[in-house]
Amino acid sequence: MEMTARSLWTMVHGMGFGALYLLACSGAFVELYRRYAPSSSGEVTEGDETFLCAYLIAMAVVAWITVLTGAFIIYPWYRAAAPPGTADLSAFPQMLVKSHPGTSGWHSRGMEWKEHVAWFTPIAATMVSVVFLKYGHRLKGLPQLRAAVLFFTLISFVSAGIAGFFGAMLNKHAPVEGGQRIQLMNREKQ
């Protein structure tokens, strides 16, 4: 059982950081909605607040790692141009996906949207973590600011979801492959 280095990077980017962000984001949304509602009677301890603060900062860091690995490590492999006359396009995912009418939309609609919409996620996640760091429990007394924080958390989730969906579909139709082969398990005997 083996995989290529590029495939491993793609997995770390999408199934690792990307999926982790989506999970973390849904948790943050619930916590911000439930605990910091003006009508919430639940008590907020300093420990709870410190934890949520660290959680949101970690979430923003994960968002940045996800988009930066995507844009500067995996995307260059995806958009690599094949030399003229290349028949086997398997090492050139963008060209491969564009070579069939049935899959070209995954690039012209999917990747074109994904590569830009993904940046909303770290911007929104950074804003949410900084606002929480600054205001914390005071958000309960600032319902409009809390509403903005919740809205941006939701937008970061949606944009990460769009990017994740198209990333997964693109990798299904034209996987990013190449580089060093990594042996995960010994070869099975026939």
Partner: protein, 115 residues
């Protein structure tokens, strides 16, 4: 028996909302800038070349860098201006949400094709 952790008292220590408003509006503008720079880089040949600051990633590298730089500069300037005051957050939220909506539209390829 575990000792009780300190509870945070109800929000009597109110802070001005200016800092939060600066972060909200800057994030809206930053997201909008991603869409705006992406469109300009797509439609204007000269700008596309200018945005190609890291060749393997192509114009996306410049689009992202320019949008993030703009976002951070606007955030810092709004923060300096509003940090000690209360601002009309409802209006700022509306503006930020509209900018976010526009940025989602501006990055959506079928809409970009119409422009």
């Amino acid at each position: 028996m575990t000792p009780q952790r300190p509870l945070i008292p109800p929000s009597t220590d109110r802070m001005p909302n200016g800092s939060g408003a600066a972060a909200v509006l800057a994030a809206g503008i930053g997201s909008f800038m991603v869409g705006a720079f992406a469109i300009f880089a797509d439609k204007v040949e000269g700008l596309r070349k200018l945005m190609n600051i890291y060749k393997p990633t192509g114009p996306l590298s410049g689009v992202a860098a320019a949008a993030i730089l703009t976002w951070l500069i606007i955030w810092a300037s709004l923060e300096m201006r509003w940090r000690n005051q209360d601002v009309a957050l409802a209006r700022i939220n509306t503006l930020a949400f509209v900018l976010l909506g526009l940025s989602l539209l501006l990055t959506f390829p079928p809409v970009v094709d119409l422009l």
